[in-house]
Amino acid sequence: MALGRETWRLAFKLVIRQPGRSALTMLGLAIGVGAFIAMVSFGEGARRSVVAQFEVLGTNLIKLQTSNPGSNPRPAVPLTDADVRFIEREATTVARVLPVARRNTPVAFGGEQRPTWVNGVAPGYIGIHSWELAAGGNFDKTDLDERAKVCVLGQTNVRELFGDRDPLGETVTLAGSVPCRVVGVLAEKGFSTNGIDLDDIALVPYTMYNTHLTDRPTYAYVEVEPTNKGLMDAAREELTDILRRAHGIQEDEPNDFVASTPLEVIRAADRTAKILGTLLASIAAVSLLVGGIGIMNIQLVSVAERTEEIGVRAAIGASPAQILTQFLIEGLILTLIGTLAGVTLGIAVATLVAENMGWPRVISPSGVGLSATFGVAVGLLFGYLPARRAALLDPIHALRRE
């Protein structure tokens, strides 16, 4: 209908001819919509960032550890080579079994000596934890079988013992008496979230560790990789069953070990991050509502300011319905522009923050769609009241006011 299009055109002109007032009206809504999009993006970005950090721990590993809960009358039985071999023989869902033995013991080179964590591990340990080598190589299956006296050093040990010198090919002394050739250097990993220096470490073949670095070969923990990621739960059940049998645990007795998956930790972190995200979104939703109220207030002021104009329009022959429509359309135009500005603002802020925080920039179309819809709805809802007030103005009073 021609009148409809004309009404839009005239309303648009009016909006453009009062840029200051229009901008003020839209500001609240734009900020509200922008905040909503940005907050949803922050929440999701932070969540993915947290999850990614936990995933470095290895999402597809089951960790077996000795455990002795207070209620358990049995003494703790450490995990041994026998357990590892039993698992390797019995388990059907397991691809690799990686035992880890560790102790804090001195490492020495030249005149320097310092305590460090020495981990007896399998060659696959580095890869499965996404660790990287800065120089040299890793020890291999042959080294493992031959109980070779070789090691891969963390950056802290390299720095403290060798300074600027190249450690590759040099021989360090472990535990005061075991000479060990340096075959590789780990890339720097920094500190863990609880303040442990992850570079203060030396990796050796666990066979060599069992032979030369300990009197009683036991493992701190055993990491198990299932044949595929989907078998995590099945593998955990099977491992629990096997270890119970290996330790001779009766049906009514509790486990003397724990079989845990990083997935559980990740899920917990994921849940926490999601709660945080919801919280952020709720706060942003409030600001969106406030933005809508802002539109209503300015439109109400505008109706009061434009009393004369409304009276003139009414006297000329505009029906209450036409005046209502005009104000609704004006509100709608302001709402649409404000929402559009808010979407742009929100995406810009989300991008900026994501870049600075090193998060992945996550802008979900559904989040943008939701906030845009919500923004327009809020604008319309709060635009209606002033429009109705304008339509109900008595033209006689409206014209008398001067």
Binding site: A2, R17, R313, S319, E402
Partner: protein, 242 residues
């Protein structure tokens, strides 16, 4: 809804016993107490009377901005005394043009947009309404001022825009409330001459509310109001402004 304005001499406006009572705390105050009047096609009538005589109320009722408490108001032969707000708006749009003392132009609209506003509400397509608007602006001597905003126009020019606006819908009746009240004498006289010319061209009936006897002299006939009644001229005390 209403019969077309007929040139046969039947009155365009006729009121019978028009009464308006405003309730207040002590009872009710009659502002109009039975006004009978009749205005012919193409007639210019000056409505005069002291403040409080009921002029404004009568004008509001004649302009379908207000409704009488009692009595009949026939516009073009149809009773319009008890219409809804939407119906009143429709009657104003098609039958009545308003001219105000303080012009009442829309500040954010150009002269042309002000003039075409009634056509917009009547649903006339833009090209046609703009053409009609340009013609009318040319007729009131403002062909060079289409795109000017009211603040860029002089008082006389603004009133010409307002007159053009009142006439765009070709209403049979124009209500002019002190149309020269905000203008100097010379400009006021020009505006009155313009109204007379337009009446002659279009056979529009004009009801003119004024305090100014000189302005009232442009009218074909004068109606005096006192205490809500039409009275003879002799009954109105001849004050300096009435």
């Amino acid at each position: 809804m209403l019969a077309n304005a007929s040139p046969t001499g039947a009155p365009v406006i006729e009121t019978r016993g028009l009464t308006k009572v405003y309730p207040n705390s002590v009872g009710s105050v009659p502002v109009l107490a039975g006004v009978d009047m009749s205005i012919a096609h193409g007639e210019i009538v000056a409505l005069r009377g002291p403040s409080g005589s009921g002029k404004s109320t009568l004008l509001n009722i004649l302009g379908c901005l207000d409704r009488p408490t009692r009595g009949a108001y026939l516009l073009g032969g149809s009773d319009v005394s008890a219409l809804t707000r939407e119906e009143q708006a429709w009657v104003r749009l098609h039958y009545i043009g308003f001219i105000f003392q303080s012009f009442h132009l829309l500040g954010h609209a150009t002269a042309l947009e002000n003039v075409t506003l009634p056509l917009h509400y009547a649903g006339v397509p833009r090209e046609k309404s703009e053409q009609m608007g340009r013609e009318l602006l040319a007729r009131v001597g403002l062909s060079h001022r289409h795109e000017h905003f009211p603040t860029q126009l002089s008082g006389g020019e603004r009133q010409r825009v307002a007159i053009a606006r009142a006439l765009t819908g070709r209403p049979p009746v124009v209500l002019a409330d002190e149309p020269t009240g905000a203008l100097d004498t010379k400009t006021g006289a020009e505006i009155m001459r313009l109204l007379l010319e337009l009446r002659d061209e279009r056979k529009t009936s004009i009801i003119l509310v004024t305090h100014d006897p000189e302005v009232a002299d442009y009218a074909d006939r004068q109606i005096f109001l006192r205490d809500g009644r039409v009275v003879d001229r002799s009954e109105v005390p001849d004050g300096p402004r009435s």
